[in-house]
């Protein structure tokens, strides 16, 4: 009895602290606020949500059954279906879901101030993203670890299945393009960054050969050698940067780098996985987990002050990084970290095959997303510890603030975020870069933020090294996503083409491999190319498109979850997926409507196309811009149609789900539940016996 009261008091204390921290963040209007408030608010919100909401979902809604054998136990084959310790599964799941998304989204959304993004990351995750990941993981576990696409087809019908597949393919193309653009922008005219990122390729190949031929399967040895070489490459990049002969080799235009990235993507897709993709992934996973851990330690040790105001004037839609009002664009910009549809592809198909027991779903599905959301909070902290003037100078494209440094600082200072040319030059010199103006895409400003945090926590003298370490860290796993995504896209395309020509469907037939890899690379390469030649930076177009497509996939996943809940007779609790679904549908539809219909040239695709066409016709464009204008006009129109396509797919799936639910509730026949029959788990008793 006494312990129950003290436990309640402890939870009450967590709730009060959490409310205090969130309130403090929300109501603070002073000069600055300490980052520890963010950490405290996040920790309390996550703890409460995990302890109460996820426990309630596990016990009352999904009814996890720990006596039921999981697919890993029933279908154990020693390779992909393996009952695995839950901490190990947690590590694998987290490493798979946490990519560059939660780092970039919050950085871009910081243009609205720290508050909107932070609140959305916290609330979106605990009520939306975590629930999506957990429910999809549960439903896939009950269905032999089937993928989201298969579940959509089985439970909703062919329409839902086709939507999930097309959605996945499209999102992959847009995601790779925007990530490629982020890397290109980070390397543009930065010999140090370019040399370091280039060095990661031979290092990965070396590690691949080591793991395959020299010491087969010795993953840890190979990775440790690779990590040492990567750190060496960061320092070596600095040496190249100071060498008069080598420097020009790596000092490249954005377009040249884009072609390199495209060529690299094609090569990576056709080379054997053990040579480049797999070793790179080992390196990027270690690098990612290590750096995230280091960042958390540094933030707690250092407790930096947040300099960005809670809200900026750009909530009205006039933001320099991307156009559009706070609603709906903050919810589109931050997808990963709050709700990410992409996760449902990992939560189905991959992770369920490792679960030793159903009760682990709560910790891995819900808990894994909680941790990713925390990564997004740290990215928000790293973006907002910068002087707002510096933040906007780095992230505003030249097309918005002007090409000359003096124009840019004048414009940004006039917004009320004072910054000087000298300040930017000093910062660039400290970071070992020629300039930090208009380095759009989020990676450079995140790297400056991380370098200043690491620099203050672990020694100030190495800022340039920390900066390029951060760039390398981002580039390494962006390139992993690029390789892996191209490969998956290729498989999906081959699978599809196999319906028409069985030969093309053979994943090992080389002409088909070349053709389909080429098609996927051409698709994302196109958007990357346009993004690079766009004077407004491209990120302002591609990132919202990515956000819309990612939230569309989340809506497909949540539709599948809602449909299954209703069909399982859990109508009363279907809101756990239905409410986030409704919110995402509202956000995505509004954003899509504005991207298509808005008359503001910085928001509406058609408006921008028409504006540019009118200027071109009037001859008022400078020659350089007039040359690329036709391509930009075509691209804006294409983007508008693409957005329309996403929103149509979204509503088709929602109506399909509602149709299935309505029929079920009226007692009419629907696709039957495809849950595998109950088999008692023997692992529990085996453990007891051992």
């Amino acid at each position: 009895m006494g312990s129950s009261i003290s436990r309640r008091m402890a939870w009450l204390a967590v709730a009060v602290t959490g409310a205090g921290a969130v309130g403090g963040i929300a109501l603070n209007r002073g000069e600055s606020i300490n980052a520890l408030w963010f950490v405290a608010a996040a920790a309390c919100v996550y703890t409460l949500a995990y302890r109460f909401y996820s426990a309630w979902i596990a016990a009352r809604v999904l009814v996890l059954d720990e006596t039921r054998a999981t697919p890993a136990e029933r279908l154990d084959n020693g390779r992909d279906f393996v009952p695995t310790n839950r901490w190990v599964v947690f590590g694998h799941h987290f490493a798979a879901i946490a990519g560059p998304g939660p780092l970039i989204g919050p950085t871009l959304a910081a243009q609205f101030g720290y508050l909107p993004g932070t609140l959305w990351i916290l609330i979106g995750a605990v009520l939306g993203g975590c629930v999506q990941d957990m429910t999809i993981m549960f439903f896939s576990t009950r269905r032999d670890g089937r993928s989201l696409g298969q579940m959509a087809r089985d439970e909703l019908g062919p329409v839902g299945g086709a939507a999930a597949l097309t959605g996945t393919l499209m999102i992959m193309v847009i995601l790779i393009a925007v990530l490629g653009l982020v890397v290109v922008n980070a390397m543009k005219h930065s010999p140090w960054a370019t040399a370091t990122v280039a060095a990661t390729i031979p290092i990965a190949v070396l590690v691949g050969v080591y793991m395959r031929n020299i010491r087969p399967g010795r993953v840890l040895e190979g990775s440790l050698i690779g990590l040492a070489l990567l750190l060496f490459a960061v320092a070596g990049g600095g040496w190249i940067d100071h060498s008069e002969t080598l420097r020009p080799l790596f000092d490249q235009e954005g377009l040249t780098l884009a072609w390199f990235v495209i060529g690299y993507g094609f090569l990576a897709a056709i080379l054997p996985v053990w040579l480049l993709l797999a070793p790179r992934d080992y390196l990027s996973t270690f690098m990612k987990l290590g750096t995230i851990f280091l960042l958390a330690v540094a933030i707690v040790l250092l407790r930096p002050e947040i300099r960005m105001p809670a809200l900026t004037q750009f909530t009205d839609g006039s933001g320099p990084i991307f156009g559009g009002k706070l609603f709906p664009f903050v919810f589109i910009t931050i997808a990963c970290g709050a709700v990410s549809g992409f996760h449902s592809l990992i939560s189905s198909g991959t992770t369920p095959k490792l679960l030793a027991n159903e009760r682990d779903i709560r910790m891995i599905g819900y808990g894994g997303m909680v941790l990713e959301s925390f990564v997004a909070i740290m990215a928000m902290i790293a973006a907002t510890v910068l002087d707002p003037g510096v933040f906007f100078a780095i992230n505003s494209p030249a097309g918005v603030v002007g090409k000359e440094a003096a124009d840019a600082v004048a414009k940004i200072s006039a917004w009320g975020f004072p910054v000087t040319v000298e300040q930017m030059q000093f910062l660039a010199r400290e970071m070992g870069e020629k300039t930090l103006f208009a380095r759009t895409g989020g990676a450079p400003s995140l790297a400056v933020g991380m370098a200043s945090i690491f620099g203050s926590a672990f020694g100030d003298g190495l800022l340039a090294l920390w900066y390029h370490f951060a760039i390398m860290f981002e580039a390494v796993f962006i390139l992993t996503t690029l390789d892996a995504g191209t490969r998956v896209g290729r498989f999906m395309l081959q699978d599809f083409l196999g319906n028409f020509s069985p030969r093309l469907g053979q994943t090992s037939w080389y002409p088909s491999v070349l053709l389909t890899s080429g098609a996927i690379v051409a698709a994302w390469g196109y958007f990357l190319y346009i993004g690079v030649i766009d004077p407004n930076g491209g990120v302002n177009i591609l990132w919202p498109l990515f956000g819309i497509s990612n939230q569309m996939l989340a809506a497909v996943a949540l539709s599948v979850a809602t449909g299954i809940l209703v069909k399982s007779g859990k109508l009363r609790h279907a809101w756990i997926a239905g409410v986030p679904l409704a919110w995402l549908a509202a956000v995505t539809t509004t954003a899509a409507y504005e991207k298509i219909m808005s008359a503001d040239v910085r928001i509406g695709f058609f408006a921008a196309a028409n504006d540019l066409a009118a200027k071109l016709a009037a001859g008022s464009l400078p020659p350089g811009k007039a040359a690329v204008a036709p391509q930009l006009i075509f691209n804006q129109q294409l983007d508008a149609w693409l957005t329309l396509f996403f929103v149509v797919v979204l509503w088709v799936v929602i109506f399909d789900m509602l149709r299935v639910c309505a029929r079920h509730l009226q007692g009419k026949p629907v696709q039957p539940l495809t849950e595998s029959p109950h088999e008692p788990s023997r692992l529990v008793e085996l453990w007891v016996r051992d």
Partner: protein, 60 residues
Amino acid sequence: MIGSRLTAFWALVRRLSGDDAYERYLRHHAQAHPHEAVPGRKEFFKREQERKWDGVRRCC
């Protein structure tokens, strides 16, 4: 005491990274198909990498 903790930690690191995948496979193989030939370490590693990367394994 510390020794056994370290051993457990090392086992966890190996398990997490997949360093012990082949040993685990050998154990499974010995139990499930005791009379069949076992693929070598090199062959197993290559096959596993190919299997691992034929689906969505990394996210945004």
